[in-house]
Amino acid sequence: MTYRLGVDVGGTFTDLLLFDQTSGKFWRHKTPSTPHDSSEGILNGVTAICEKAGISPSDVEFFLHGTTVATNAVLEGKGARVGLITTQGYRQVMQIARSFVPGGLAGWIVWPKPEPLAALQDTLEIAGRMDADGVEISPIDDAEIRAVLTQLRDAGVQALTVSLVNAYLNGAHEKRVGELAAEIMPDVPVSLSHEVLPEMQEYERTLTTVANASVRPVMRRYVRNLRDKLRGAGMAGSLSLLRSDGGLMSSEKSEEHPVSLLMSGPAGGVTGAIWVGKNSGIRNILTLDVGGTSTDVALIEGLEARRQRDTEVGHLKVRASALDVKTVGAGGGSIAYVPELTKALRVGPQSAGAVPGPVAYQKGGTLPTVTDANVVLGYLPENLLGGTFQLDREGAKKAVQTIADALGIGLMEAARGIIDIVNENMFGALRMISVQQGYDPRDFALMGFGGAGPLHVNAVARLMGSWPAVSPVSPGVLCALGDATTRMRTETARSFSKRVADTAEEDVIAVLDEMARQTRAELLAEGINEADITSQFELDVRYEGQAFEVPLSIDPETLRRDGLKAVTDRFDAEHLRLFTFNMDSAHELVNLRAVAMGPALDLPAPELPASDGNLDRAKIRDHQLWADGAMVPAAIYDRALLQSGDVIPGPAIVVEMDSTTLIEAGCNGTVDHVGNILINLA
């Protein structure tokens, strides 16, 4: 028996999913998060879920974890105090920050400029310069470097970063600063820009290096504490964390490179969706992860999620691979309001959050939210499963009535308006990752998860024309499921910046081979067998002069066989798909990356018994909800009692521990062999 335990720590709940790798059987558990020390909540959960499964923590071989610790440290400015050493003349590289002011004309009037992640007073310069070919044009001075390092040490910086101009081409100067730092400030972790991100663009490289350094101490504390606690509880298995790009990395590597974890949270849902898709035979999926304050969307094509080179957290955009997840400020807690001047109905991005929360939760919320509108319309039944949690429908009505009054329309119309607007916001985000990227959403299924995803997935699928709308099994803990079911991954990148025409194929292959060795060595060091490691190359190509590169994956054998021509041909095809035209300009090879992946897992989902054709078995009660302008009869079902092949006619509601699925009028929900509900137009 091999057990994998996926753990996703959210703001309110810690979700756990225990997976028996041999039988495919799984157990899930939700326990309150403990923000002061997440490991407490995790341990509570581990104890509980092991009990449920009748195993002991020592039986868990893999502990797989998605975390927002790094993200929150950045968002809340709780990272370490970072010292930064730059090239003479570049001290204010973070202060000037590419001079960009968001907003339109006159946006500067209302823009609060964020403080740099490495404070300007902790940023110092040194002499020495490389040119744009990586050739030294003026030397560094050890004495000056020592003085600068001593000054930063005495100032009390907790982490040091070195980011020198053109270091992406030649890191010798940075290396020397690193050596001297090890001497002068041996206890302070040092990050060198040419190691963290050997890519052109001084601001982006510096920011990424600084962001990494800033969250390292936080991450190290977190990981070490968690590891100790788990060991203390008898867990001997490995501990890995989910990267922003949907792969796993060891907890040790996470301590070194937390900048790869900034989108760890949302990546879990996407990898979970891939697992669900694999088991139900759906290969193209748009994901809709609806939380309390925001919604994350992503595109999966052929069971591969689209990746991007940048990770955006708050106002920061760092260079680290991440799944291409777009976030909109639209969730269950989003507040509806009507501005005095324009009399428009707006929903979000302000959110009632977990506290005070929606009015219906009776935790002090007074402003109408999306959840309240769902309650008013009957989409969220007042009495959830088990009856432990009663929703205040009257309170919700009162709150939504304020919107109805401001707009001069009826209560139900206002509630439906709130839902329509929030669905439209989700629709907008989904279009950005599909239509805008040249994909036809009708070729994709739409999968809704997170607490409220299955409530909205049917309506949004209708807008997108993406069928079926899928309510996956365990939608509330899909992130933890994703943590548990993905594979190890590591990558390294390098700027190349040469015309393809001026490039010898063997040179490119030599560089890539070396990078592949480096990434494979990392996985070998994690104890993965050489034979189980898959390598992949990625080449960023553009027309010379463009700012936008298209990343193209290719396996080493194909590259050797078909050469760079295969790559440029694919670039032309992709460019045509994205932008509807090609050019006769030269192709430029911008960046090279090598990716190494651990063994792919074949983790089947447990099958449900076949339907006996009698849906009454799962029916809880009759119900009424708002559809097409009137209250109509509907029914409520218990998801745990559904069987493979059941067809639920809409309008209907399917409830489970932590989520509610809405099947709209005019649609049917079919339960597939592993328990997913596939909603289609009737």
Binding site: Q92, S99, E202, L341, L407, G428, A547, F579
Partner: protein, 620 residues
């Protein structure tokens, strides 16, 4: 004769009821389509000006040409009035000549494409975008000769023509145009990018109309315009008085030794409308600093400023244009007569925003921002390298953002929307130069409770012989401070020859030879200060001293005495008391010394002779 619109289906759109939710959904979808235009452009354009710096502007208009989403207001109305041709399904219109479209675009470098969007034989919307081209021929690389005296010296002028005519591509036209440019590859890519952006937005509009119905879509765009009209009417009634208020500011010089040039605007409310009267503005210049200001563009600027200053939540469009009466004297700097040169219009454009801020804030100083939207500094560097390859750099710089009611002005940031710097590693990789310094200038931001942002000192070391051109302003008349804040420092350009000789060069300079090894200090202005500098927290100055943003000497302007990096509290208190006693009452505006004093001290303070008062010859 106005343009003739040819539709296979002449059925007029019906006005139908639009529920508030659908209206908001359509507004949202249009906004998303506009964002998509930007994204498409940035990804496919090639010139650094567009791809790295974002010098391009999208627009979606209703079938009558009124802007629903966009930035600079609709030029489609004036275009249609002056276009003697047809607008048909399958057409794509291309133009660049300001005089052909009533100044709707302001210099020939901006190439504009306009796509009429047809659905089922009916014109349902327009999508359009213009972007700054790196070079369109003419007398200097970059095609913006500051010393031009006629638009004929400024490169290819494109009257409204059709790239596609009823779906047929006119390849010869594009060949002819591209043949005029020193950077044809960039121009081809950028034009493709502009077109791709318009097509993307057109597809979205058609999808939207299909989803909601054509009548619903057009009724919704009407309502969106109406909604904006109502909001602006309310704002005008509550924020603009019937008493006349005036404001004037200056363009320092014209690049030919004359200046400063005055721009004056008087504003009042009359019968529920706002009048913006530019009477008192100086006559047009013989050089190229003229700006052919389109009235609609001015309406848009006014609306944006009203909204940003008084209520940033409103989304704006063309709906309120009837509420604003813009009066610009013929033959003035803002409405020059053909064929006046226009390529250096960026300084006037920037200055208009300072003037608007000054006008709107006069009666409500708490909303007032200081000056600093002063210019969009340009540097051109071109030549032929050792390998015989032509290089041509056009770069836009940034100064200090003014002190604001909400806080300090950011150092070295962009006032124009969406602009970013070009990464220096990129410049060094693709051009023969090294950027030795890229920092802000301590003390250059005007002192204030909220200080102005510092200007930037960017030092270029040229690696090849070549020529440079510089366009900047605010080197003579400083950016003013408000509510007690002081003016910001002025711009300055210094060329250090290989042998160490320093030459102060003009801020408007054309075809100036440089040699390999020369260094250029390209120093921009600092933003004006906001509020009383004597009220600024002394600890903040101590911090900014360690940050290199102010000096000990600069801190004295705030009455703060710093000794070895620490605040000397007693000395600070004494100094502040003395400064308070000695200064007069705080005025709303602090323009710095008067023009005569500026002239008298010009050479000593700036290293450049004072500009001579412009002489108004007969023009046109």
């Amino acid at each position: 004769m106005p343009a003739q619109i040819i539709q296979a289906n002449e059925t007029p759109f019906a006005t139908v009821a639009v529920d508030p939710v659908t209206l908001d959904i359509i507004e949202n979808a249009l906004r998303n389509a506009r964002i998509e235009m930007d994204a498409t452009l940035v990804r496919t354009a090639m010139s650094p000006g567009i791809r790295e710096q974002g010098d391009a502007f999208p627009l979606i208009a209703d079938y009558q040409g009124r802007m629903i989403v966009g930035q600079f207001g609709s030029y489609i109305g004036p275009f249609l009035e002056g276009f003697e041709g047809t607008v048909e399904d399958g057409d794509l219109i291309f133009l660049s000549d300001p005089y052909s479209v009533g100044g709707a675009i302001s210099h020939c470098n901006d190439w504009l494409v306009l796509l009429p969007v047809f659905k089922d034989g009916r014109l349902i919307a327009y999508t359009s975008m213009f972007g700054h081209q790196s070079d369109i021929g003419g007398m200097v690389p970059g095609s913006m000769p500051i010393h031009a005296t006629s638009i004929f010296q400024e490169g290819v002028r494109i009257p409204p023509v059709k790239i596609w005519k009823k779906g047929v591509y006119n390849e010869d036209l594009i060949k002819l145009v591209m043949h005029q440019s020193r950077t044809a590859d960039w121009c081809k890519a950028d034009l493709n990018a502009l077109i791709a952006s318009c097509r993307v937005a057109a597809a979205r509009v058609v999808e939207m109309a299909a989803r909601f119905g054509d009548d619903m879509f057009t009724s919704a765009t009407d309502l969106l315009l109406e909604r904006n009209y109502r909001a602006m009417k309310h704002l005008i009634e509550t924020s603009i008085g019937e008493d006349k208020v005036s404001f004037e500011d200056y363009i320092c010089d014209d690049g030919m030794g004359y200046g400063p040039y005055k721009i004056k605007c008087t504003m009042w409310r009359e019968n529920g409308r706002v009048v913006l009267d530019f009477d008192g503005t100086d006559p047009q210049s013989k050089a190229s600093i003229n700006m052919f200001l389109n009235e609609n563009m001015m309406r848009m600027f006014f609306g944006i400023y009203m909204i940003m200053i008084f209520d940033p939540q409103i989304l704006f469009n063309d709906g309120y244009y009837d509420l604003i009466d813009v009066r610009i004297p013929e033959g003035s700097l803002l409405k020059p007569k053909f064929p006046a040169a226009l390529s250096g219009r960026t300084h006037v454009l920037g200055r208009l925003f300072d003037i608007l801020g000054g006008l709107l804030g006069q009666k409500t100083p708490e909303f007032l921002n200081a000056a600093g939207f002063s210019s969009s500094p340009h540097l051109f560097y071109a030549g032929t390298d050792k390998n015989g390859k032509w290089f041509q750099l056009f770069q836009i710089g940034f100064g200090g953002i003014p002190g604001r009611p909400m806080g300090d002005g950011p150092d070295g940031h962009s006032l124009f929307p969406g602009f970013t710097n070009v990464p220096n590693e990129f410049l060094e990789r693709y051009f023969p130069l090294i950027i030795e310094r890229y920092e802000t200038v301590a003390d250059s931001g005007g002192a204030g409770l909220h200080r102005g942002g510092n200007g930037i000192d960017m030092v270029y070391r040229f690696l090849e012989d070549g020529v440079i051109a510089i366009h900047d302003d605010r080197w003579f008349v400083p950016p003013w401070g408000v509510n007690g804040g002081e003016p910001g420092a002025r711009a300055r350009k210094v060329l250090v020859k290989k042998d160490g000789t320093e030459i102060v060069v003009g801020n408007k300079l054309e075809d100036y030879p440089v040699e390999a090894g020369d260094r250029l200090h390209f120093i921009t202005w600092g933003g004006g200060g906001w509020g009383d500098p004597l009220d600024r927290d002394p600890a903040l100055l101590a911090k900014e001293l360690t940050q290199g943003l102010v000096t000990e000497k600069g801190a004295l302007r705030y009455g703060v005495v710093l000794v070895d990096g620490a605040v000397d509290a007693a000395a600070t208190e004494t100094l502040r008391a003395k400064m308070r006693a000695e200064r007069g009452p705080i005025e709303t505006f602090n323009f710095g010394p008067d023009l005569e004093t500026l002239r008298a001290n010009c050479l000593a303070e700036t290293g450049l002779p004072a500009p001579q008062a412009p002489k108004w010859g007969t023009v046109g």
